[in-house]
Amino acid sequence: MLPTLSVLNLNGAVPQIAVAGAGMLIMLIDALFHRGSRRWAAYLALLGLAVALARVVESGASAETILDGALARDGLGMAFALVLIVAAALSVLVAMDYLRREEHERAEYYALILFATAGGLAMAMANDLVAVFIGLETLSISLYVLSAFFTGDAASREAALKYLLLGAFASAFFLYGIALLYGASGTTRLVEMGTAIRLAGTQADPLLWGGVALIIVGVGFKLALVPFHSWAPDVYQGAPTSVTAFMSVASKVAAFAALVRLLVVVLAPAAPLTSALLALLAVLTMTVGNILALAQDEVKRLLAYSSIAQAGYILVAAVAGEVGAAAVLFYLLGYAFTNLGAFAVVLAWSRRGEGRLPFSDLAGLGFRRPWTAAALSLFLLSLTGMPLTVGFVGKLYLFGAAVQAGWTWLAIVAVLNSVVSAFYYLRLVVIMYMREAEMPLALQRAGLALGVALAVCAAGVILLGLVPGVALDWARQAVAVVLS
């Protein structure tokens, strides 16, 4: 029988279709009528993301699948999709003035951001490992190209090449893992795979263990977990700053969405082994990320190592499996505002044609740019986990989930790591306010869109920190509705 459109029920895939469709529309309009400024492309991208966001919020969660069982419309998928769409919209705002300033303003930039988002949405909501893989590749390839977007810039090209080579390698691991899990269960659908694994019992199915290990390597690369992190500092530093901002948030949200779904839906019976493996990775990632961050003298690279450490904190809750899912979701929402905001300030302050922002450039900016400096201080305090910011509530919830699941020692390691991280985050604040500039930095005009993005990020960090209740309830309810 031929499948009909009603069987496929495209209505539920509107978020993906809106995002990818807006990207294609941008490319079409640009090819047919491109004249002058590309600002319209950014507005069109925002419109597509707004449609997707409205659809995600309005349709709500239901434990049903669409597209013949390939796409899950459950709370878990929808909630991660929401975080991803918000992050993409903020990334578009952040990029608008920056691209013009750097004379690389082109419509394809926004189209690629949208395609990457569509891939991430597929990863977050897919109930099929093949779809997860193709979503991952769509996200990754868009990011490779975006890393090379400043093509005249050698650092940008080098970043893209490193990312491409190591990323292709990691994809092979992920794909091999999928093949082994398919061999162990006879299906690529996650729910059926989970059932098959539960029925078979977990005692020593070598295919299952092999598949899990390889998939964790693939996901670990995307999340830049230690020891799969070596690409991250160079790529984060070499890529255009607006791309780094997007990449540091979007690929983490999408990869954690897929990882949490795998842990909850498929690998729950294998929890003892996966938890031990992830706990080991979490300890390594937090510790190595923080120690290397201590030695940096440039803000962009510091934030790269900080992102590595942050992935380690989130992994602490992922270790707890189902218990930690809500904490992972809430922390990622806060992390999206915090990290995008911090990179937005780097981008506003860095010299034209140069992505770097050495610590010495920060001196004295606390008083020359009081609002932006206050915003950066807020983001850094939130990354540290100071009370009254979202970072504090988020970490409390992350580590609380680990304790609740019996991983107390892991939570203690995470808290100790947070203490270490305070040193390098607060050092930036000290430099901004306490040190005189030897050579005052020639600052660019920030632009309205960047200001809006910064204001939204700061508001998100403060509001989620002061009144976290609403968002926490939302996260808890969302992850309670999981297709299984």
Binding site: L8, A20, D68, G69, A70, G119, I141, G186, P206
Partner: protein, 165 residues
């Protein structure tokens, strides 16, 4: 040993030999030829598994298109055809250890696995069934794959166009 087993060992051996040649040969052009050998042997294994359509696609896409594209790429790149490139660097002992570990894990997993057999006969329709599967249960990956190809194409254009300017 049955004939099937003999053919499998022959094809499998050729695939491994091609793969080894691809990573160890010093000349990039020879590496690409070795890769074609590996890809072709895998197509043979697909025939052995009675997956004829997959075998044809493997030859058309991988041997016919991708490998040829790589050969053209090598030949059109200046100063690369005749030159021997280093296949080892300082980190080779570490790489060897990691690869050997991975091989050991995979070998143990594959040998000790209790391979489940499908309870139903493989589909006979071939292309028709494949088409239905792509429009039905696999519509999502199929559609996302089209976005993926679009991204790859746009990316190649962005990087190539700017480099020429």
């Amino acid at each position: 040993m049955s004939l099937t087993q003999a053919v499998f060992i022959l094809l499998g051996g050729m695939a491994v030999l091609g793969a080894l040649g691809m990573v160890t040969l010093r000349n990039l052009f020879h590496s690409a030829l070795a890769m074609i050998l590996a890809l072709f042997s895998i197509a043979g294994i697909y025939v052995l598994l009675e997956a004829e359509f997959l075998a044809v696609v493997q030859v058309l896409v991988y041997v016919g298109a991708i490998a040829m594209l790589i050969l053209f790429g090598i030949m059109l790149t200046r100063d690369i055809v005749g030159r021997a490139s280093a296949v080892r660097n300082r980190q080779w002992p570490l790489a060897l250890a990691v690869s050997a570990g991975l091989l050991a894990v995979l070998a143990v997993a594959l040998v000790r696995a209790a391979w489940p057999l499908a309870t139903y006969a493989p589909a006979q329709g071939g292309v028709a069934d494949l088409g239905l599967a792509l429009m039905g249960p696999y519509a999502l990956p199929f559609e996302v794959a089209s976005v993926l190809l679009l991204v790859a194409m746009v990316g190649a254009l962005i990087i190539a166009r700017e480099a020429r300017e």
